[in-house]
Amino acid sequence: MSVTMSTRQVGDVTVIDAAGRITLGEGSSAFRDTIKDLVTKGDKKILLNLSEVTYIDSSGIGELVSGFTTTSNAGGKLKLLGLTKRVHDLLQITKLYTVFEVFDDEAAGLASFS
């Protein structure tokens, strides 16, 4: 299964609930398109919920980074929520834990934007 993504609005924060696999090909392009569409619409506070993402490869990590820079370049912020152990380990290995703001709790993630 590749990634499925749904968005919901909580106040002025857009939460993306992602599920499945973010890998080279369909999964990573779906992710990229979703972020780009949101930023184009003017959504600049994005909380990406990865708690149901079972697998990310290096292409998927590249898409997370791309989403981060796309949002930052538009004056917004992309933050991460609910990392599984595997995704957490990947961010540690790649040192991206120092780049992303990461939250275990959705309320704390939402509050961080205000």
């Binding site: 080279l24 490869d57 290096s58 990590i61 590249g62 290995i93 790649t94 040192k95 991206l96 120092t98």
Partner: protein
Amino acid sequence: MAASFEQQTQELHLESTLDSVDLADQAALELARKVGFDEDDQNSISMAVRECMVNAIAHGNKYNARKKVYLKLEAAPGTLVVSIGDEGDGFKDNDVPDPLAQENLLKQSGRGLLLMRAFMDECEHVPRVPQGTLVRMVKRLNAA
């Protein structure tokens, strides 16, 4: 079960398409389970095999339908050796920017080799004859 498992070798020549990534992953995981790797180690092996296959297909063979990806899996008690070869132009370590350098952290690509090294106990690459690269990765049971 690992206790009754002796030794098994499998060699495949795969197409340069992303479908081959899944085939290699499944074949490696089947042997990894026979060796007795736990779920965590299986995930590590899967990650390394998939990254290596993507490198071979996309960067090595550049999706060229005339080029194949060579996969060799060698399982023995306590050890799985995965060798993946492409028919590309080859590469040197110096050709690959350090993905952990501050100036490269926000680059979109270039982390595959880092992940392969992180998730396996050994990872080395050598030139193939007549052309290409062979990556050999080793995972051991209960490695520190």
